[in-house]
Amino acid sequence: MLLNASGCLDGLTAPDVARSLDAFVTKTVTPLPRDGNAPVRIAETDVGMLNSIGLANPGIDRFLTRNLPQLAELGVPIWVSVGGFETDDYADICSRLDDHAEVSAIELNVSCPNVETPADSAAEIVSASRLATRKPLWAKLSPAVPGIAEVARAAQASGADGLSLVNTIRGLKLDERTLRPVLGPGQGGLSGPALKPIALAAVATCYRATQMPIVGMGGVQTGLDALELIAVGARHVALGTVLFADPDAPARVRAELHAAAATRGWNAYEDGYAVAHEETLSAGATLDERSSV
């Protein structure tokens, strides 16, 4: 499945882009409405971009009454990204989403780099959310932790159905003239091509640690990028920053992904699932690979 990374698309403002995905992931919803962080919110770097939006969202009340009914009309499965500042925030929102049939899955954003990190551990948040809903729960983790395998195992033991890997990683850009931060809040989340090797490592590590279903994301620009994430253990792939520059990316990446699989003699890209973990290619496969380039 091809999805969008949470926060990188507004399904109501850009419904055609949302419809071109296999599922639409909302921006993170919090208990109360949030304006988000003070401008400036966006900065470019040589290798990606920084953002500091700060979970701007209408809050769960208005999300349920206003946004969700409209999102349901998109005709694609809706995943709701849930955020908060303590465990109860997550559990409360999960229980309120539970009886909405139009919600296909819930992604627990326990790793936003632009707001204060919840004091409670990912495992506590997943456990409480698990008790509050029967919906599939995906835990979205940060790659900026010393032991992501431990966090992944804890999320699994707490009842998560899958992992979303990775969130952005904190970065800073200075104004060249003033040597002060460009972004209003100072630091922001780094995304784009710089994130891809980090995402590949995180997905590979968490696949080995848990064998859970994983939505891989981070710096995907092409179908080959997507196939690499699948090769290290992602079942699904999400597009983030690329959507800003190329709203047609979903169709293009999907076509490139099928082509990249066909080049390898596979019927479907799923044939590439976790192949990077197989120890070595056979001599024949290596040759095929060379002759196809």
Binding site: C8, D10, G36, R41, N51, T241, F244, P247
Partner: protein, 61 residues
């Protein structure tokens, strides 16, 4: 009489105070340019406006 202004933010705020019907051209770095990312939101009268879809030219009041 129409008042139109573009320029530094402090100047735009000063124009707002003088001419509530002025049309002001705001600027902010944008990521997507189609309303999806909320990167270009600026606060006008306590309300956030996405300059790419609600602006970039906004009434002062």
């Amino acid at each position: 009489m129409d008042v139109l202004a573009c320029g530094p933010e402090p100047m735009l705020h000063a124009v707002r105070a003088l001419a509530p019907t002025a049309q002001l051209a705001w600027e902010a770095p944008m990521a997507c340019g189609y309303g999806a990312c909320y990167g270009c939101a600026v606060e006008i009268d306590g309300e956030l406006k996405r300059l790419c879809v609600e602006g970039p030219v906004l009434r002062a009041a």
